[in-house]
Symmetry: D2
């Protein structure tokens, strides 16, 4: 026995959602089949409203609701306009905001690349990034806050090269032992950074 075509189609679409595989996607579809007509309409309306009411900030690409061109962070006059923090995705921006330790602006790159192939890099917002840095001479420091994973490091390296001509201070997030970490299980690079960054 196989899934009917309309179920299959929706499993395919849900399988493209981040972290979702075919098994979870099929559970989503069976969940929808059990919802009432009103609940389905509520979901459809919410998805359809999203694009209508949510705007993407013209500076940092952060989604927000409102008539303005810029998001609440970018339009906040008390933020430090000499700092630009490049993050991979929207949830990373929120993680940094939660620390309340950063008062500058952001730029959401839109992903990372494993290989520095042209086709891959074009999916990132590198042109928009270059433009922001070029048009905003008030920026003094650019913080590359990309995950220190293999793919993140390749992307950070690419960004460092890309932004070098603008002669700004370029920094990376500090490496070290995370809260709850143990020396015994730390790799040599993390431990070296923790030693060098002692204070």
């Amino acid at each position: 026995m196989n899934y009917p075509p309309s179920v299959k189609k929706l499993i395919d679409l849900f399988s493209k959602f981040p972290t979702v595989g075919p098994r979870t996607a099929s559970r989503f579809v069976f969940y929808l089949l059990r919802l009432s007509k009103e609940e389905i309409e509520e979901l459809i309306n919410s998805i359809s409203n999203l694009k209508k009411t949510v705007k993407i900030c013209s500076f940092c690409f952060n989604p927000f609701e409102g008539e303005e061109e810029f998001c609440p962070i970018c339009s906040n006059p008390s933020r430090d306009r000499t700092l630009l923090c490049i993050v991979e995705k929207e949830t990373d921006l929120l993680s940094i905001e939660k620390t309340k330790k950063y008062r500058g602006l952001y730029f959401i790159l839109g992903g990372t690349v494993s290989r520095l192939k042209k086709a891959d890099i074009e999916k990132l917002r590198t042109k928009e990034l270059e433009e922001r840095v070029k048009n905003h001479p008030e920026i003094k420091e650019i913080i590359i806050a990309i995950n220190p994973t293999v793919q993140g490091e390749a992307t950070a390296l690419y960004l460092e090269r890309l932004l070098k001509p603008f002669h700004k201070k370029i920094t990376l997030l500090g490496r070290g032992l995370p809260v709850g970490g143990e020396l015994e299980y730390a790799d040599e690079e993390t431990l070296s950074s923790a030693l060098e960054g002692r204070k």
Copy 2:
């Protein structure tokens, strides 16, 4: 910084999906925000089509596509109508079908209950189950194929009591060591079942 209301609303709706928490739900919303207008429409149409094209079988509650009243399994004349297998959910039915070892009919209960409270049990299709068994004297054996978890066992016990008055043979899935299992880590009940079920 907080999420805009329309984002929050959709995070709430996605958080009700099975296996999805708020973090994953927010990643779903940011994923949708990056889709094109056409891709959003494709998703909305697929969700909206689901309820229109997919019917729920009048006997077993299995979803299928077609004009008929009964699903392909229930309307297949070669299936054994003396066997009825009760499963918790649609994916469990598919798991059993994949083994190709079962040729009878199914009944999708729609869930399990942790407490045998009236309010909880009313969410299950117990009335429909009783009706099926009553109206189908050709059924000789009822297989309760509910997960042997704590909640599943409570539900199985309830079903056994519920179906007792119909004087059918009632069976449960065999317990034992799963493929790849080890005696050393098996609980006593599983190991006892494996010993008793040796062959």
Copy 3:
């Protein structure tokens, strides 16, 4: 900086212990270095006593303490001498005893083999097993209670072939869903067995 030779030697010996890798082995050695002279002596005496006071049963290879030739299970007149249960190792015997569902005798094979090579099989007690079965015509059923892992199954297959000429009833532990298992995550073989073994 490297470990001193006597530390290295002991790390090597502890690394051969089941489940122990070099990292854990080195923690064992540093633990010993912190013990008092009396505690070290207690450990050494206990290890040295083990071989002196613990005998291996002449029938089943189960370790026990005493002057007798046979272990308490084998010398218990109320055990059922028509049943012989082959297990891989001592802890598996204990797991089965804990269920209190088995009243026959045991035979500890001493391991499993991944390949049916002569050199590997010679490490198992297959000759002793053949001898036991040959010399004990009262045995009616032989239960192969080996883990249903890939390696265990290869060994079980080998034992079935080995014991065939003795014309005894040969059984395997029942397969099925373990307590707490879920249909959705069960492999097809386990689910097929659970269906066939329903009761």
Copy 4:
């Protein structure tokens, strides 16, 4: 059926080894029972030799082999005697040595404490630590390289207070994202440290 007393005794002793529970301890005993007389003697001799041939360094408590009073690190004239690094245990010292980024001396504290109770603290080498710092005015910086776990942090806090009267520079390992870490899963403290420690 129960374990014989001499087996039980040894299971108890092995259960005190770091990371070992009763199940693993019993597997160790069954492993020993299968060893030859010669292999058991080799193990006993190695344990017994350990205390005889391995000395504990009179300065840092690092185990080493030799006639000298001090370990190879402490007696190496090229090590930087102005730096003292406090670690919890021997394997942590080795982890730091592997990075080849540290050229100072060490002090092995011998554990951490969860509560700052006198009875607990007396198990640590705090008196010896105070003595080292007092008698070695050449020490300029003390690096507390204790795991940033809850227990480790309590211990580090205690050490900071203990060493304050000596007016040395006291530092802690840098916090931050470890190699392979992700912003999304980092706690706020780690992310704050990573931001502040950017470079």
